[in-house]
């Protein structure tokens, strides 16, 4: 399906579902910031997302970001639609009770290469605790060159015992090690070793998430 067709379909769906709500001027933050045509289309996407129970602030933010960076209206609409789809996929994977922050972080992880199944595994491994930082760290690890499956295994390994601050420190240490010349996988292994020494690995780690040892 082309972007244009997607846009038209989204707008029609919005019109059908949101008959009681006007399509225009839904988001005052967009007033005067976007070309009028783009603003209407973004409003439509936001309306559909709101009715689907998805967080809408990130969609507006994404549109404002495009506007501040001088993007064309069409490009802004495309970016917002893509984000809406990512949010929907993340919400479906993480569950309907997920917070907006978790969904946004999950979308970021999906964009980094994680699969919906990965997010679902992470949710199961970190039951009762927020996934916002864990999902974001997953995306961060992939961005520094850690293979997606390895990053997923590491984040899940930490899921049972690590606090958010532990995740942040873990991510920072791996990034620094990589910046210093360590291979991403080796850096991950070293830092998981250290996490294991501190007892931060949870019961969900299991044998599959044992850190790699140094060659």
């Amino acid at each position: 399906m082309t972007i244009a067709r997607t846009t038209r379909l989204t707008a029609l769906l919005a019109a059908a579902l949101g008959a009681a709500a006007p399509l225009h001027a839904q988001e005052p933050r967009l007033e005067g910031r976007l070309p009028e045509t783009a603003r209407v289309q973004v409003d439509s996407v936001v309306t559909v997302a709101r009715q689907a129970g998805l967080p809408t602030e990130p969609l507006v933010d994404r549109a404002l970001e495009g506007a501040s960076k001088g993007a064309t209206g069409a490009r802004i609409v495309t970016a917002v639609e893509r984000l809406a789809q990512e949010l929907r996929t993340a919400r479906d994977a993480l569950g309907t009770h997920s917070t907006d922050e978790e969904i946004v972080a999950g979308a970021s992880a999906l964009r980094a290469g994680a699969t919906p199944a990965d997010l679902a595994r992470l949710r199961r491994a970190r039951t009762g605790r927020t996934l916002t930082v864990a999902s974001a760290v997953l995306a961060d690890l992939v961005s520094v060159g850690v293979p997606v499956d390895t990053a997923v295994a590491a984040v899940i390994a930490l899921a049972g015992g690590a606090a958010d601050a532990d995740y942040v420190a873990f991510r920072r240490n791996v990034e620094q090690d990589v910046a210093l010349g360590a291979s991403p996988v080796a850096a991950l292994g070293v830092r998981l070793d250290a996490a294991a020494d501190r007892g931060e690995l949870g019961q969900s780690a299991g044998p599959a998430s044992k850190p790699p040892r140094k060659p």
Partner: protein, 383 residues
């Protein structure tokens, strides 16, 4: 098995003496326990049980190791062996570093009805190492004395080696020429070590050639180590190794299975090296003009203090979802430090920084992500 035990002790000492790998001082104690089926050259195949306690001490420039080995054969005969090795590495000069090491051992083969001369050796070794970030090589020689009963000989080993490491795989190759009494030969060996999250596989394959009295042919070994718990691992190994007249090892073919119990200590980590290198990198970064670095302060009433450090800037601005993507100027807080307090909620945020009205960039300290608009955006996570 006794030869393997000796090899393991020496390999441990050699590993910890790799130049450029300063390790925190640490003592490690391990015990290998298991059973094997072994066929020494000139003997019938036999089952055997083995117990190998090992202790190693690693410091930044010094490593010491000692290992005992007790091998009990089904006939009731047994081998007692003790080995020790130590290595000292010189301070680094660029990518070069020297190594001086020594090793020695005594092996006693005790049969049920007769004595057997003990074998021993004492060797000193010198090596010069070259180490690049992910590869290196060495050139070295060793000599000393080898004893078999009342007989003694002066061996000489001259070798060259190279290694490379990439992610989970390490490859190595060595060529070592040996001369002892009227025996001489060349061993060319390739090795591989693959560290998988579930297991570690080590393998080697070699060929002995240009031999006079040392035998010839191909040989190879493989081992599998599967961690069961932090202190316990399963060891599986098998293959064929050649004779080593310098250290009193008879060639054999074997398979073995056992457990490795780490009694105390933990395997060495490269963390100290990384920490030291990081400090140097940060020192360099702090003096790199024009490269903004982002830092997030502690939460305060009214939000977080966002800090940008950049040398020589006249104006610093930040924009992000927490500013509705409107530029917000930072105030100078020091010679190269700029700050602003903004209401940033927990979650994932996107931001860019601009220096002196230039292009919007992603400062150091944040992950850069494709912004969907042809540029990059920094990702800030607040838990």
């Amino acid at each position: 098995m006794s030869g393997r035990a000796l090899g393991a002790a020496l390999a441990a000492a050699a590993l910890t003496s790799l130049p450029g790998t300063p390790l925190a001082a640490q003592a490690i104690g391990e015990v290998d326990l298991g059973a094997s089926a072994v066929e020494y050259q000139g003997y019938l195949a036999s089952a055997a049980g083995f117990l190998n306690p090992t202790i190693r001490y690693n410091a930044p420039s010094l490593s010491l190791g000692a290992q005992g080995s007790y091998v009990l054969f089904e006939s009731g005969s047994h081998i007692l062996q003790g080995t020790a090795a130590g290595a000292w590495t010189t301070p680094r000069r660029g990518r070069w570093r020297g190594e001086l090491s020594g090793s020695g051992g005594v092996t006693s083969y005790v049969t049920s009805d007769s004595g057997f001369p003990a074998y021993g050796y004492a060797l000193g070794r010198g090596r010069v190492h070259y180490r690049a970030p992910r590869a290196g090589g060495w050139l070295g020689a060793a000599t000393g004395r080898s004893f078999f009963g009342d007989a003694a000989a002066t061996p000489l080993e001259i070798g060259i080696g190279a290694w490379a490491v990439r992610d989970r795989v390490a490859l190595g190759a060595t060529a070592v020429g040996t001369w002892i009494a009227d025996t001489a030969y060349l061993d060319v060996v390739g090795s591989l070590r693959w560290v998988h999250p579930l297991f570690t596989v080590t393998g080697s394959a070699g060929v002995r050639t240009w031999s006079e009295g040392g035998g010839s042919g191909a040989y190879g070994e493989a081992s599998l180590e599967v961690p069961l718990w932090r202190q316990l691992a399963v060891l599986l190994a098998g293959g064929r190794y050649p004779s080593d007249p310098v250290r009193g090892v008879v060639s054999a073919t074997y398979v073995s299975a056992g457990l490795r119990l780490t009694v105390f200590g933990r395997p060495p980590s490269v963390r100290p090296e990384l920490d030291a290198y990081r400090r140097r990198l940060e020192f360099r970064d702090e003096r790199s003009p024009g490269r903004p670095r982002f830092a997030l302060g502690s939460p305060e009433p009214g939000g977080y203090v966002l800090q940008i450090t950049v040398a020589g800037a006249r104006a610093v601005e930040i924009t992000g979802d927490f500013t509705d993507w409107e530029p917000v100027p930072l105030a100078r807080a020091g010679e190269d430090t700029w700050t602003v307090r903004l209401p940033v909620a927990p979650g994932v945020h996107r931001l860019n920084v601009r220096i002196d009205g230039g292009t919007w960039t992603v400062p150091q300290g944040l992950r850069a992500e494709d912004d969907g608009y042809g540029g990059l955006v920094g990702i800030l996570v607040i838990g």
